[in-house]
Amino acid sequence: MFLPGLLIVVPLLAALLVFCIRSGGARNFITIIAAVATMALSVATAATYLGQPCFVSLPGELPSTVIMAVDIIVALAIFYYTMVKFKRCWIGLLELLQLAMILWFEHGAGHGIKVAADLAIDNFAVIMVLIAGIIGSLIAIFSNGYMEEFQKEHPEVEDRRPFFFFVIFLFLSAMFGLVLSNNLLFMYTFWEITSFSSFLLIGYTQTEEAINNSFKALWMNLLGGVAFAAAIVWLGVQYQTVELSALLKLGQGAKPVEMIVALLVFCGFTKAAMMPFSGWLLGAMVAPTPTSALLHSSTMVKAGVFLIIKLCPLLGVNHAGMMTMFVGGITFFFASCAAISQSDGKRVLAYSTISNLGLIVLCAGIGSYAAAWTAVMLVIFHAISKSLMFLSVGTAEQQLESRNIESFDGMFCALPNLARCMIIGICGMFLAPFGMLISKWAAMKSVADAGNPVLLLMLAFGSATTLFYWTKWLGKIAAYVPAEKSREPGIHGVQWLALKALSILTILACVAFPLLSQHGVTPYVSAIYNTTADVISRSNLLIMSVMAVLIVLLPLGFSAGQKQKMVVTNLAGENTGDNLSYRGVAGKTVQVSLRNWYLEDWFGEAKMQRYGFGLSLLCMILAFAMMGGGVFHV
């Protein structure tokens, strides 16, 4: 049984079924079966290929023809939406440009190119498969319950759930194809499908804001697509190959492939919402939560960094590498600062995602063994924790009718289990001994070794600002405000399943960090760099695992100790007895209202955007100018 083929086909089949069969109950059933099947297939793929990387060549002309056909179908769909339905023709022109380049290439110069391996199944691809398979499936299951509530709460939104699930499964299928591809033409097609899926899902609610934001996402991603197409054409014409592995060999053999690499990296930037292309990710938050969780935090944006990480060995001290490093570092720092001034939960998560992706890109840009290891680790842990956070915030939004963090106080008492899931998610994002922190540790080491003081500063300051906004949020949830009744009954069983599974996964992945490193990531990085070393020493990793277990066991002693006498809090006047109000002047009762600090003067969004966009754009322009000068001079 050809597992990779099944991985692509099964979700595709599920997508078609879900679209054609309109009954809600049947759809739920199909979703769950498909999700479980996808999960099983991912695990099976991991079991088969982990530690045993291989290249697969697809025989005959059929695969390329199918890919070409899919390219044209997607392009036609995009033309329909941009030119016919919504009259944004210039975006359609971007797609036309891409399609023209690829078609010209396919029928012209690229026609005779022999492809040695269409698919590359190495450890990194397997890890991405696992991420998309397990997390993606859990989110699909979550969506069953969530979308039902969503449609109930938003009767003004047309119930297009069959379409929604169709796109979700289509996307999953494309994602699998993307991470397994070695043939850049294949990857390009799957890339386009993911961009298009994102566009469709962001516009789900069909409000004006949603439509505008979906087109913003589309043009930015298509811009990346143009760069991708240009890179393929250049590579094919100059070096007669369309394979990623061949590109890597060429680069490591000191051939001048820098510009091609830079174009591919640029494409990754747009998909991974690096500054100045971060606007689309923020705008994408209008989509229903499963979209944000699946596409815009754990999977699609990871495709962008996936490509950049794959190009790791070719980055480093050259222009492309410097551009990558600095754009990543700038994005990391400024996005993390901007998150401080946001109070909308999803916007904080969006900025946090952009920031962490920036960190991953920074590590990928450094291009050393340790940095590559770090980048992959960050991908894994960020995917797990961030999807958990998005699902939690989505669930909280439904129950509390607001996703503003200021309304999350009292969650600890009104929604205790959800609060616990959210706490695990937040801790998983920035606190030792969870995976993200260990990865940040390794990142610091790598940056120090790279010898770039500016980046080191950005990393240090960015870590501090990250701590601020996460702890602020954590504090808000932990605030003890007694609730009259629990609001949890409104949450569907499937939502709990996804939330709890992801929470357990966060903890397990952290405890099993040494194993993940030893069997998952290190073999991949060793193979590429022909060396092996412990980025973080075994003893330190062991200590972290023990601390993780400690943190998990600690809450068991929550009530242990002497019985405490409960008294009222100090308020600005006589406490009325319930800690929620006090008697102010003239005997008036005043409600206690507590609000976090947002430091808008310091970290306001507009200010951060100005600096971040400006600096990143400057880096990219300088890098391309220098490379361009070098290339065309020759």
Partner: protein, 294 residues
Amino acid sequence: MCDMAVNIGNIVLGIAYLVLAPLIGGLLAGIDRKISARMQRRVGPPIMQPFYDVFKLWDKQPVAVNKAQRFYIRGFLLFAVLSGFFFFAHGDLLLVIFTLTIASVCFVIAAYASNSPYSQVGAERELAQTMAYEPMMLLVALGFYLHCGTFDAKEIVQSSAMNFIYMPGIFIGLCYILLIKFRKSPFDLSMSHEVHQELIQGALTEISGPTLAMIELAHWYENVLLLGFVYLFFTWSPVWSPVVGLAMCAFTYFSDIVVDNCCSRVKWEHMLSSAWVVTLVAGFANVAFLMYMR
């Protein structure tokens, strides 16, 4: 065999820290109060006063506003002790700093948990403090890594020359943020020790009795750990260098007491901006220099 001996030696040092740090920390706190009193031309409390305070607090009736506070403070104490233990026993600086971060997060969450206005403002200020000193703390560890090639405290104290000579900027930065970490004026915004008041007691407002004793204890452990960082700058391979290290620790602590008595509390904006400027100028210049040297 040699590894085993080293490991056992490490563990012994760690246990010594666990036992001795509260004593040293308490004595330091007592000396601090005595010197401050003398500077203000008063007699001041006996040096053992902090111990009396903690014992008294321990015997008080446990009073709380909710069940969660004590749990988070326990976490705070546990991780503060753990980070010090790591420093003296295992020695990886970044691990120590990260564990200390968990401890401060636990403390902030404890303050948030009570949902009282004074606690909340104290918590926000404590967070602002953490954001102010965190970059410099990381730069201290990274500075040592760049200079000595390792994060291991054991190896750093065995380096061939006094570390301070190559890292003066980082040391200045560390001294600046030590004022924040020791909770001394001008940076004692979030909670005030002993005689000072700020927003009632800031982050400590809703905490009482045995739980308060735990916080005091955690601060003693933390102070010893922080002085350990200072020690790293001034100790190197000669056998007599620990004397220099300890002397500089004492000198740093004494200077902090002097600054405490001379300065008044600043606003958080000033604290954040000045700490970051010091980090940028002193820390960055030093780090750039160290990277160039490599």
